[in-house]
Symmetry: C2
Subunit: 331 residues, 2 copies
Amino acid sequence: MDAPYLLFLGDARDDLAAKSARGVLIWRPEKCLGQMSLPGCKTTMGLPEMTPEQAAAKGARTFLIGVANAGGFIPETWVEPSVRALAAGLDVAAGMHTRLTDIPALAAAAAKHGRRLFDVRHPSRDFAVGKGSKRPGKRLLTVGTDCSCGKMFTSLAIEKEMRGRGLNAVFRATGQTGIMIAGDGVSVDAVVADFISGATEWLTPDNAADHWDVVEGQGSLFHPSYAGVTLGLIHGAQPDALIMCHEPTRQHMRGLPDRPLPSIAACIEATLGAARLTNPAVRMIGISMDTSRLDEAAARKALGQAAETTGVPAVDPLRTGVAPLVDRLTA
Amino acid sequence: MDAPYLLFLGDARDDLAAKSARGVLIWRPEKCLGQMSLPGCKTTMGLPEMTPEQAAAKGARTFLIGVANAGGFIPETWVEPSVRALAAGLDVAAGMHTRLTDIPALAAAAAKHGRRLFDVRHPSRDFAVGKGSKRPGKRLLTVGTDCSCGKMFTSLAIEKEMRGRGLNAVFRATGQTGIMIAGDGVSVDAVVADFISGATEWLTPDNAADHWDVVEGQGSLFHPSYAGVTLGLIHGAQPDALIMCHEPTRQHMRGLPDRPLPSIAACIEATLGAARLTNPAVRMIGISMDTSRLDEAAARKALGQAAETTGVPAVDPLRTGVAPLVDRLTA
């Protein structure tokens, strides 16, 4: 995906609906030229509002659909602006279940104008099955007690901190928002099941001895909907270092009201056990908590308790930064 | 898939190449009307050799491609007999990576003659994500120390033994040969990764309290290529009972010459730990070994040692039968 981007917000009903656009803006602001909203849009990125034609005139290369809706489909009202973007010379990217390429008007416009459609959720290549053999280069993987508890955010914060220290680190995206931020990656939950670990091996190939892949984790070994994806990702990434992500106010596993969260300690034990299959030397280097729903005192208490019970540093990327985790990585 | 079948053996280079045909013949002989070989075929099912037209005249309903080749594709020499079968009024079924429906000559012939093409390896429906909630009915799952160590064979032997005792049991197929034998099922390694457990929940739905689904396992939690599939299958099946399958002469994990097998005990511990997430009451009821590469004395010794170290019965379905495992299930 070529930058810079015009971020399309559609008729986003709230901030959360545009979380992909926001993720790209937070982590790759230099790639974001403007935004385009439809009537009724309830969020903003604070960027200049532009039409596709205006954005193209300013050098935009990709119309990035940064809004999601409940069904994961692309409504009719998003198609017309996308066609306009293609006509203006932009590529179009989206991370929906519905493929852009399956919408006849978009396929026709892309062909007519010689532009590309990026369905970042859908793999565009075949993968080999995973081998599990140790590869040169180092890898860090974020894991979690649940889905949606800060794995992507933590990975990006770690990459930023490492690069700030002059370390050789690259974020490796495994979900649609991460791919939009990184510009490439593999949505591992969308590959054919036999190839989860193989796709992850492809994403994190042989590298220099001092190179770190900072791999975005997915799901949780304790989430019965997605644990297979999590395990294949752990085996394929063969991490040297793990960071356990946790949201301390979560009442139940995401989407499963009757299922409590595992303890951080139980999750660490199970995850290390699984990871040792492809890297016996794997270490848990710390805990990353999203404490945004706690006040300062409660957040400090939660972080302190997590560090005490696990024996590794506990941080909140936003509240405390991730420096203690990178210290541990380089120690 | 409607029975009876004409088993197509193609130009199978050895017995193993026709293992799907053999599986169907062993487990569903009443569905097998005849066989069709091409020049150079190196195996036989011992059935009457027939053309598609002869088979159709005798009542055959499905032309079952029971032979595989290294690439998982469908060579030109298999297409012509398949087209003949469609013209003779048979459906065509195969379990290859290549889809029958992607071969223009077959798609055209199926449309022309109003017949069906079954690509049993490829899911023909969408699935929901798994929920992990406990369902009524009972489930047994075969698991293993490795791939290809007797999980399908053991499952079918258990189903047969249970039915012989008047128990309410159904084999649930999760791989292409199993699907050909059962006539339906889901090839869980071919679903999109997010839906491994969901597809398994669909395959083993709510049932009567005395009903047993006997679910065919896949892979191994210790196989780094496929463990994600194994874990999603374990969580989706939420087994009440597990049987650990093992091939005692295996020198390394299948396809990975540098990777030794786990011990049966380690594999039992990890598998029970994973299975407890969706069924805390899960039990390991026994070991099933393929001792066909051992002589009688060595086989008895291996079975005895496995039983002693694990505390559960150890059987070989062919050599000893699986009665001790079903005894344990009903005890």
